[in-house]
Symmetry: C2
Subunit: 356 residues, 2 copies
DNA sequence: TTTATATGCACAAACGATTGTGCAAAAATA
DNA sequence: TATTTTTGCACAATCGTTTGTGCATATAAA
């Protein structure tokens, strides 16, 4: 009977009791402060051995209360089922844990109300800091949240004029690369299916789209810039509309991976094929991008870098209690060229394009 | 100046102070126990108003310490970047929050050592319960963990002979459906690229594969059952090997979505095409499955159901402090037929297949 | 008017850890 | 041996809640 009894200590008091010493000493040893408080090596060893033997793990809730830090970070993401975000979440969790932090994960369901509630929830749970991939255009709730003094960094988007550090893709540069490639391939009528208007991600990408056209002397046709949502459905609808025009585009620039899935569905249904009938470039590379009916040319965002840097910036913020609020990091994405863009022989003897 | 000062109460003491009443009363009102302790409605209203006005949110760490429950669940998953798991994670987070629980999310990186550490970490963080998608075959660490008395449910896999409730797909039935379809389409030489051997998920799927062959009078060729990992690379390698045989299979049954991506890569490289040269059926449907070069026929696991039921079972477990440890729920998957399987006209006048 | 009951709230302990300070005993110095 | 210094550890307060119990005052019953 006795043989099968697990030796256990459910709290530091029990552990101290079996050792016949005070909880103070046990705590100090366990926190590596034996030297600072002049605990003898003999006592130190006894404590360490006992902790192992009795399978003692400190109660981190109590610890959090006393230390006023929980070694926990919060992560709020609009949709974890979106591979772009799940990939970022993976790295954030890994990096956090590597630094001794756990992660409370929340999905805002792309809803700003939920996002607001989640921020408060994380605050009441006393996370030491938050990584937020914000939804929506409004940032009033963020301004309010700032007052609580909880370290916060933003990823994916940035909110101009609001003093919160951010780490994002250089969306402008990504769009420019993609568009230069399309233009270089001879395309002149290029549609742009955009996501949520008004947010930085979208603005920057659309700006890249326009600039490249202008720079190449191609008139910007606003009716070719359509859509208003990063989801699949939007991609589908806009493509159906675009392809029913009298002068359909020869190429579509889809501003998100989900949009591009919608584009594919519409093209499938229309019986067209990529790239022969229509060329497509999409933002955000995916593991399956190269296995699609026609392997997709994509703008690959540096997801891992974004996540790593976000955690690093956040931890600095936490440790120093402050940070340069102008911290804004934009990472260059990479154009991955596959087979979804057709090379068009140009009818006009196009003047030499100026280079970027 | 005064106008711009936010009214704040950082803890219940401050709030009680401005109201001129005791923290006891404040706490009771805030927890809806006004009646039980006969707080007058007037006082009750005062407290509620003040809480709102002073933007007071209780410190849930302190609460957790006192109540010995944190209203937090733990989730351990082998790879959040895998869409199968990210989709499950999304539902688990949503359902948890709906019931007032937050989620500490951990990625075990498919590593059993990490998984063990995470279990201890979550224990020391005093989560009220854990949903675990276990990695590896061994379950010794789970047996050890059980002694801690923390409610635990397992998803995706089940561990025979270990008293932990589980919720999984009925993998056997899914495999049977897929195989019956392949056989009905005239295939006789069907390869099976499996994942990690020895675990229930894999065993059950392989058993389904075998049983259907036997039931249809097709000899089981063990050399057609290959592979040992659920990853993409395994799918790739095994396909290359299979396709270089003298008698290559006419169909491949890929036992995971990642394996099927590897299969696609190999087939692509070999210059073959689906379904003309080779048919493919894969376990686990994905959002992009229908947009692949040839839309893939898949076994769709009831991810959302699994997640919902897992949370429900776990919460029951937590509330009752115990549960029937024989709880084991297997949900039927659904075969989604697309265009990756070729209908083969049978050379032999095959006898009527017995039906399931 | 006196006694019994109901009403409305506060005191103080507890949850499990950390830490400034204090106090013996041992060692070093005088 | 007497004094000072060092060594080794413990006391008790604290973090922000929750809650059993108790104590006045107000109301009802006698």
């Amino acid at each position: 009977m006795y043989l099968f009894m697990e030796k256990k200590a459910k709290n530091i008091k029990e552990l101290a009791a079996v050792l016949g010493i005070s909880v103070t000493t046990v705590s100090r040893v366990l926190n590596g402060k034996a030297d600072k408080y002049r605990i003898s090596p003999a006592t130190g060893k006894k404590v360490l051995d006992a902790a192992r033997e009795f399978n003692y793990y400190p109660n981190r809730i109590a610890r959090g209360l006393r230390l006023e830090k929980t070694e926990t970070l919060g992560l709020i993401i609009p949709d974890i089922a979106n591979p772009f975000f799940s990939s970022i979440a993976k790295t954030i969790e890994f990096e956090s844990r590597r630094h001794g932090y756990s992660l409370i994960f929340c999905d805002s369901l792309d809803d700003i109300q939920t996002e607001t509630e989640l921020l408060n929830l994380l605050a009441s749970r006393k996370v030491d800091g938050i990584v937020l991939a914000p939804v929506g255009q409004s940032n009033k709730h963020l301004m309010d949240f700032l007052k609580r003094g909880i370290p916060l960094v933003i990823i994916d988007r940035h909110m101009p004029g609001i003093p919160i550090p951010y780490i994002t893709t250089d969306n402008y540069s990504g769009a420019v690369d993609a568009m230069e490639y399309l233009v270089a391939s001879g395309h002149r009528t290029i549609a742009c299916i955009q996501g949520l208007r008004g947010i930085s991600v979208n603005n920057d990408r659309v700006r890249g789209y326009r600039d490249v056209l202008i720079r190449n002397g191609i008139p910007v046709d606003n009716s070719l810039i359509s859509g208003d949502d990063f989801g699949e459905e939007n991609g589908y609808i806009q493509t159906r509309i675009l392809m029913s025009r009298e002068d359909p585009p020869t190429a579509i620039f889809a501003l998100s991976n989900l949009i591009s899935l919608g584009v594919l569905r519409a093209i499938n249904e229309t019986g067209l094929s990529i790239p022969d009938d229509i060329s497509v470039v999409a933002f955000d590379d995916q593991p399956y991008s190269s296995f699609l009916a026609s392997p997709m040319t994509t703008v690959d965002q540096p997801k891992e870098e974004i996540a790593k840097i976000a955690v690093k910036v956040l931890l600095d913020y936490i440790r120093n209690g402050s940070i340069d609020m102008d911290t804004g990091i934009m990472l260059k994405p990479k154009l991955i060229i596959r087979k979804s863009v057709k090379r068009i022989t140009d009818r006009h003897d196009q003047a030499q394009r100026p280079h970027v």
